[in-house]
Symmetry: C2
Subunit: 113 residues, 2 copies
């Protein structure tokens, strides 16, 4: 057993990404931010779906298809569809995110052997 | 956007399970308990992996292969392997869980069309 709010890093130059659990089609990550934001002009453009929640601190996301930022406080969660371009415009110090990345597997199909 | 800690049910006779997001191989659920425990002699025996975290309140889990309960406070998370039998022996009022159920897909294989 581990605790999501323990062993928070301090003094790191960047964000810390840690995989808490993973399956063939899913990855659960803790992300700890300390004020980092996405570089100017950078957009995340991911092939996976991402469900993300802020569990400590606060953050702002900007979706390319929206005019204004989305503010996230503790408990706020969003589902980001694959290739929906977005960037992080604010994070608190610290901000603890929990993110679940997953593939729908719709590009192929599965069968039993 | 929604908030995990809002719209908590009150006065329900049972636990409330809500799917927050899902993919072909993954399901993200909020579970709200109000003191419920597993019935005597009942064991969860799931075909999926379950990663679960307590985010409000507290709980105790008992794994059949362990002699003592596992105590879960806020932020504590565990990964429960498929078919690892377990039961809930205590929940606070309320207890908010976040659970990610996922399949490894190892029973078959996937291919592109």
């Amino acid at each position: 057993m581990a605790n999501l709010f323990e062993n928070l890093p301090v003094g790191l130059p960047g964000e810390l990404f840690e995989t808490l659990a993973r399956g063939k089609h899913v990855r659960i990550e803790r992300i700890v931010s300390h004020g980092q934001v996405s570089p100017d002009g950078f957009w995340y453009d991911q092939s996976e779906s991402e469900w993300v929640i802020v569990l400590q601190g606060s953050a702002r996301l900007r979706f390319e298809d929206e005019a204004a930022d989305t503010e996230l406080g503790v408990g706020d969660h969003v589902l980001i569809a694959p290739h929906r371009r977005h960037r992080v415009t604010h994070t608190g110090t610290p901000t603890v995110w929990l993110a679940v990345f997953f593939q729908d597997g719709s590009a192929g199909h599965c069968r039993k052997d």
